[in-house]
Amino acid sequence: MSSIKIKKEVADKIEAICKSFNNDASELINVLHQTQDYLGYLPTEAQEVIAKHLNISPAKVFGVVSFYSFFSMVPKGKCPVAICLGTACYVRGAEKIVDAFSQRLNINVGETDKDGIFSLNTLRCVGACGLAPVALVNGQVYGRLVADDVKRIIEENKAKFGI
């Protein structure tokens, strides 16, 4: 018999989220969104607890979490970095921007740095194609980027977090 270990307050919050959707399995994606908003990511324990409340298998929940790139199973940093790889950004060199962030922060896409400050991700089209290539750093849009801008952006945001 395996057991799922989770903090009581987290379990209670997830229970409340599920309840707000009437424990309806067809609301799984909404439940996952709210849980990720609350926790910053979707650890396996959270998915197991969601599965119990919605009366579906943990495999099904994991299937959905692993399918959508918006859901993450690793904790995001305090300052999430997301680079758009939509068509416009891509053809205007977004990949070079990804590489530059990856090198400067010393992490791969999908990872968080060891201090828990920066996490690096890619996304599809933020609707600012005119500014391509675009990065979203801590909720702020940076446009018309070239690789040399990356150092400045990182320093600027480090300062915001007092580093």
């Binding site: 057991s3 119990k52 495999a59």
Partner: protein, 589 residues
């Protein structure tokens, strides 16, 4: 009715018929890979994902998947036009480009549907050279997973969720890394998997196969210190012949016994015998519970569920821990046989427990896991040491140059070899119920049955219900196969048993053990399962004794050893208990 023309052949089909089914009605066999159906058994996998069945429809710009496109009035379909053949070959080449080409070593070789497709389409080279999927090998005691070979047909996922409601598998990830996996990619053994093995039975390729124990058994036979005894389950004798080119439904009981003797087993026994023993124990337990309930005892748990099917046992331990007192405590026939062999028989033969090896031949993958239950062993020495499937027995015979078709008919050895028709029908859904009724009726009513065949317990309906007249007492019974059907009945019981059932039989596999995961692959031909069922009832009808309590060797063992059914010694050896195996939530401080 709808008029349709397929390959210039005109026919009328009912509305809602797919191109694939219409073509089959016209005798045209469009190849498929992901599509899988068990006709009349409520199982269909139709993701429309593999694109092997693409056909050309006149007036339609792109090709259509035959499995997922309904025919429309006046539709003209071409299943083998140059455009179709080119596309179909390309699709297969693309699938093969991400599939290991180790056919020579693959367990599935000869039974692989992808291999058959490649052969049929004349694939001679794979022009695409791209990335290959790599996954860790994973295995339970029953199921072996090599997901490098997965073609993402999702048959296993549909089987696991829709048919069994076990929920161990799901499609995970997106794009190229898509695969059918477990929750958080855990080993299958750490999930809600119940080891029914039906994912293996429906896997078209070698991604899901069984855990092969042939060498373990060959080693035991070769060891001069060991006395190796074998038991064969009821459903094996009506399916083994298929592996040797015989028609489905041919009964090979005598040839199988001869084959096992040629393989070198010291004693060749029959699980049908211990099925008779199971009926004595389970039937007595049922009558005991009924008597108490009728006397007003409110603590008696009814309905009683059967407990022969180890996938079902695992299922209620993982999903219904609040109802663990409902199933019969009787062990399965495999486990009962092991207990009798290592206790009673070993002593009788003058063999030490440690020197006796008990092998079972089962239609089942779950039996490989059942034998490892800790409570089915004494000081770590298991009651049943190895379980082979029907397919493994066929492989073993072939390895040892034994052609089943050429063998004479031989009898089982005694005293654990003689069985009745009641033991035989354990192999089909409803069989355990019928066998139990034959005995329970005569024991309870103290008079012979007016008719021995219970037609109401037979057939391939997913859930059957009936009321049997027990000399004025209306005994309400239900029979289910597939654990999604069993789940419905369990939920009814949890809700207070509104239908007032007294006794419920559950088997996990399609049609019962005859459709077990260890049986020869049926590749979706449910007629094969029907033929095995007919053979089962034919074998029963031909038996001189058809009621478990009339089996002379069963009567003798109670006289000589166990005393009485559900007595002290049988409780010790022939009954068991169940555990809560559901995952629980614990709070961290």
């Amino acid at each position: 009715m709808i008029n349709v023309t397929i390959d210039k052949k005109a026919l009328q089909v009912p509305e809602g018929t797919t191109i694939l089914k219409a073509a089959r009605m016209a005798g045209i066999d469009i190849p498929t890979l992901c599509y899988f159906e068990l006709n009349g058994m409520n199982f269909e996998n139709k993701p429309g994902g593999c694109r092997v069945c693409m056909v050309e429809v006149k007036g339609r710009r792109n090709l259509a998947p035959a499995c997922a496109t309904d025919v429309t009035e006046g539709m003209e379909v071409f299943t083998s036009s140059p455009r179709v053949l080119k596309a179909r070959k390309t699709v297969i080449e693309l699938i093969l480009s991400d599939h290991p080409n180790d056919c020579l070593q693959c367990e599935k070789s000869g039974d692989c549907e992808l291999q058959a497709l490649a052969t049929r389409m004349g694939i001679r080279r794979i022009p695409f050279n791209g990335e290959q999927s790599t996954y860790k090998i994973d295995s339970t005691l029953s199921v072996y997973r090599d997901m490098d070979k997965c073609v993402y047909c999702r048959r296993c996922e549909t089987m696991c969720n829709k048919f069994q409601s076990a929920g161990a598998l799901s499609g995970v990830n997106r794009g190229f890394p898509s695969v059918v996996g477990t929750s958080f990619s855990k080993p299958l053994g750490d999930t809600s998997c119940i080891n029914c093995g039906q994912c293996v039975q429906v896997c078209p390729v070698g991604a899901l196969t069984l855990v092969d124990n042939i060498q373990d058994v060959l080693n035991a036979i070769a060891d001069p210190k060991k006395t190796v005894v074998v038991q064969t389950a009821p459903a094996v004798r009506v399916a083994l012949g298929e592996e040797f080119g015989m028609k489905p439904g041919e009964i090979v009981t005598g040839k199988m016994a001869a084959g096992l003797r040629r393989l070198g087993f010291d004693k060749v026994f029959d699980t049908d015998w211990s099925a008779d023993l199971t009926i004595m124990e389970e039937g007595t337990e049922l009558l005991g519970r009924l008597t108490k309930a009728l006397a007003g005892d409110k603590n008696v748990k009814l309905p009683m569920f059967t407990s022969c099917c180890p996938a079902w046992v695992s299922f209620y331990e993982k999903n219904f821990p609040d109802l663990l007192e409902y199933p019969s405590t009787a062990k399965s026939p495999q486990a009962m046989f092991g207990a009798v062999a290592k206790n009673f028989l070993a002593t009788k033969m003058g063999v030490k427990r440690e020197d006796m090896v008990v092998v079972s031949i089962m239609p089942c993958l779950a039996k490989k896991s059942e034998l490892a239950r800790e409570e089915f062993a004494v000081n770590g020495n298991r009651d049943v040491d190895f379980s082979l499937t029907t397919r493994e027995l066929a492989h073993m015979l072939k390895q040892c140059n034994i052609d089943l078709t050429q063998l004479p008919e031989e009898d089982f050895d005694n005293p654990l070899g003689q069985s009745t028709g009641a033991g035989v029908i354990f192999g089909a859904t409803g069989g355990v119920m019928e066998a139990a009724l034959r005995t329970a009726y005569e024991v309870h009513c103290k008079k012979p049955l007016p008719r021995i065949d219970f037609e109401e317990t037979r057939g391939l309906e997913g859930i059957k219900e009936a009321t049997i007249d027990f000399d004025g007492f209306p005994l309400k019974i239900a029979i289910a196969y597939s654990l999604s059907n069993a789940r419905k009945l369990m939920e009814e019981v949890r809700a207070g048993n509104p239908n007032g059932y007294h006794f419920i039989e559950v088997m996990a596999c399609p049609g019962g053990c005859i459709g077990g995961a260890g049986q020869p692959y049926h590749h979706g031909d449910s007629d094969i399962i029907r033929k095995r069922m007919e053979a089962t009832y034919r074998e029963d009808a031909g038996k001189p004794i058809r009621k478990s309590h009339e089996n002379p060797d069963i009567i003798a063992i109670y006289k000589e050893y166990y005393g009485e059914p559900c007595g002290h010694l049988s409780h010790e050896q022939l009954h068991t208990h169940y555990f809560n195996r559901q995952s629980t939530v614990e709070f961290e401080k």
